[in-house]
């Protein structure tokens, strides 16, 4: 990375809360864009037949034993959606920021019944629960993915605004899913206030009891990353410590939040190193890079982030919440400041 792409040192900008809030938001979007699943999410705006062909090509590759795997593609359609850019996590963060001061069950209730959304299993189930007469906290508790990190992503908005994410988290999550949100909000709140990364990670850990999976995993991940010494070196250690490779979906808060905390700390808050490493954790690449980007972006501030990445990540596509197409995340960040 040339020095021309990196902004001023954090020590010169400790008072710039607004820049750090923008760093949290754009940092999350950069991480969201950097993970390989982003292009798959973004292909959601293309015609459904292109995704059907993708599934058929997967079958073809299996049948013919070819190692050349299909990637999201366009045929007779716009190619822009498949360019590097943010997807689900950035869009749900923006939606959260724009509804931040509303009653959470009411805000989510407006989404129930819509058939044009894409969301995590926890959120889809919570919307069904709300429509079916199970209000929070049952909506997040009676939920097969109560443990996922949907609320941890949204908690970046609450942390940046200095608000408690618990009520929001309980709409879609419970247990480790809510604890993950509280940890992310605590860390982001500390960082936008100018705290050092070690203090922010400590604030997050204080939300994660030892006897929970997320608390146990967070401490194990931090110890593994510290032993490894730097973010990229920590990748194999985190893979070994965090993942059992048993389950079919890699968005468990007990895995992604600890990975983000560990990489944010061991990188010294450097987003380029931390997000690159998080993106290498392929089972968790849907959201670990985004959470890592939020922490490190909040630490360094937006002005310090690589310009090209910020430009690629700041505009939403509307692949999960169509009404957000074209929204500039810097405007969203201003609303949080």
């Amino acid at each position: 990375m040339s020095s021309g792409e990196i902004g001023p040192d954090r020590r010169d900008r400790r008072d710039d809360r607004g820049d750090r809030i923008a760093g949290a938001v754009i940092g999350l979007a950069i991480g969201d864009a950097a993970g390989w699943p982003s292009a798959r999410h973004r292909s959601g705006v293309l015609a459904p037949w292109s995704r059907r062909l993708h599934r058929e090509l997967d079958g073809f590759a299996e049948e013919h034993r070819v190692t050349t795997l299909p990637v999201p593609f366009t045929l007779n359609q716009p190619v822009r959606p498949l360019a590097l850019g943010p997807s689900d996590d950035a869009e749900w963060l923006a939606w959260t920021a724009s509804t931040l001061h509303e009653d959470r069950a009411e805000a989510f209730g407006r989404l129930a019944g819509r058939d044009d959304l894409r969301a995590r299993i926890s959120v889809r189930t919570a919307l069904d629960n709300l429509a079916g007469g199970r209000p929070p906290p049952a909506s997040g508790h009676d939920n097969p993915h109560f443990f996922d990190d949907a609320a941890a992503v949204r908690a970046v908005a609450f942390g940046a605004a200095g608000l408690d994410p618990t009520r929001d988290a309980q709409v879609t999550n419970a247990g480790d899913g809510v604890l993950g949100a509280r940890a992310m909000a605590a860390a982001v709140a500390a960082l936008v206030g100018g705290a050092p990364m070690t203090a922010a990670v400590a604030a997050a850990l204080a939300e994660l009891p030892d006897d929970t999976a997320i608390g146990h995993a967070a401490r194990a991940a931090l110890a593994a990353a510290r032993r490894a010494g730097d973010a990229f070196a920590a990748v194999p250690a985190l893979d070994a410590v965090l993942f059992d490779h048993v389950y079919s979906y890699g968005v468990a808060a007990a895995q992604t939040v600890p990975a983000a905390l560990a990489l944010a700390e061991v990188s010294g808050g450097a987003l380029p190193a931390a997000v690159s490493a998080a993106a290498c954790l392929s089972p968790a690449a849907d959201s670990a890079p985004a959470l890592t980007g939020a922490l490190t972006g909040a630490f360094s501030g937006h002005a310090a982030l690589p310009r090209g990445w910020s430009a690629a990540a700041r505009t939403l596509l509307g692949c999960c919440l169509p009404e957000l197409a074209g929204v500039d995340l810097l405007d969203i960040a201003k609303g949080l400041a």
């Binding site: 299993i121 009676d142 097969p144 480790d176 999976a213 146990h216 059992d244 389950y247 468990a252 007990a254």
Partner: protein
């Protein structure tokens, strides 16, 4: 008294085994697909036997025979390490997410209850499927049955998965007294927190059955399903009430337990009707039919299990748990009863 106890114990585990075997081919199928393939699924596939439900129930029973009421989490973890983790060669056949997740947690050196929390499948129905022996052992003592199954469950489950196990163990303990199905279901509800997913789903399932069950119970279970018939309406409404439709797997305890109890209530406690209704509801059909069969079999005894089904149940193959290969559920039931009737040490 002890002969009746033995008959109910055999009925319970035989009911579990026939449910497992009948539901086996219907696992993960939607009810419409089951109806398309079989009309109504009423016959066990010859020569196939059961699956993980029967083998893990036998494994749980072996813990009770060894440790009785003194069973601890360390005992359970040691048994898993020696008899499950230590005997896996290559693939862990027939295991659900919670079992393999538990094995991985044990391989990391974790101990209960963290082994049941480390993987995200604490809510799986893997404890409910192996809970019946606790109800046999602590017949007439639903609180003790629920306590013991929770000791076992801490190795592999947390939260709703524990509640599912407690619901089934407590209900079997009461069914073993010959209680009416409504009393048995009340025991299940009493064994779980009122503010839980399991309790909410059980209450929702009971409400659906209350609205439709009488119509369905009036039918012969072997009658083919037709569009618009009461089975179809019951099935649809149960799915709407308790199935998480945006989740692609079918192993959620709050869902499986609710479907199993709904089938048992619909069947009025009759083994054949309860098991057939459960299997034809689909989802985790081997497990739901096994639970319904265990509840009904505990109430009706081994004479209540259709002969044509019982004839299909032999010693288990050990396909999922090599350590239980060759065990027959009827022998296991007798051992549980014998152990339960032993004088308690020190009295």
């Amino acid at each position: 008294m002890s002969e009746e106890y033995a008959e109910r114990a055999r009925g319970c585990l035989l009911g579990l085994a026939v449910g497992d075997a009948l539901g086996r081919p219907a696992e993960n199928l939607p009810p419409e697909e089951i109806a398309r393939r079989w009309g109504r699924l009423t016959e066990i596939e010859p020569g196939r036997g059961g699956t993980d439900d029967t083998e893990y129930a036998i494994f749980a029973a072996s813990l009770l025979v060894r440790y009785g009421r003194a069973l601890t989490g360390d005992d359970v973890a040691r048994a898993w390490r020696e008899e499950i983790v230590g005997k896996i060669e290559g693939p862990m056949r027939g295991a659900g997410f919670s079992e393999l997740g538990t094995v991985q947690a044990l391989r990391r050196g974790l101990a209960p209850p963290m082994t049941g929390r480390w993987h995200p499948h604490g809510w799986s129905d893997g404890l409910a499927m192996r809970a019946a022996p606790y109800g046999i052992f602590a017949a007439g003592e639903p609180e003790e049955a629920a306590r013991l199954v929770a000791v076992d469950g801490a190795v592999s489950h947390s939260g709703e998965g524990i509640w599912g196990g407690r619901a089934v163990a407590a209900a079997v303990a009461v069914a073993m007294t010959g209680a009416e199905p409504s009393t048995v279901v009340a025991a299940a509800l009493a064994a779980v927190p009122e503010d839980s997913w399991t309790a909410r789903n059980l209450r929702a399932a009971v409400a659906v059955v209350a609205a439709h069950g009488a119509d369905v119970a009036a039918l012969n279970p072997r009658r083919p399903a037709v569009i618009g018939d009461p089975h179809e309406a019951l099935s649809r409404e149960l799915h709407e009430a308790v199935v998480a439709r945006h989740y692609p797997w079918t192993d959620l305890a709050p869902e499986a337990v609710a479907l199993a109890f709904a089938a048992y209530l619909t069947g009025g406690g009759d083994v054949e009707e309860s098991v057939v209704v459960a299997a034809n509801l689909g989802r985790d059909a081997d497990t739901t039919a096994a639970i319904a069969g265990a509840l009904a079999g505990a109430g009706r005894g081994d004479d209540g299990v259709p002969d044509r089904w019982a004839a299909e149940i032999g010693p288990v193959a050990g396909a999922c748990l090599p350590g239980v290969a060759g065990r027959h559920v009827l022998d296991v039931a007798d051992e549980l009863v014998e152990r339960a009737l032993e004088p308690v040490e020190g009295t």
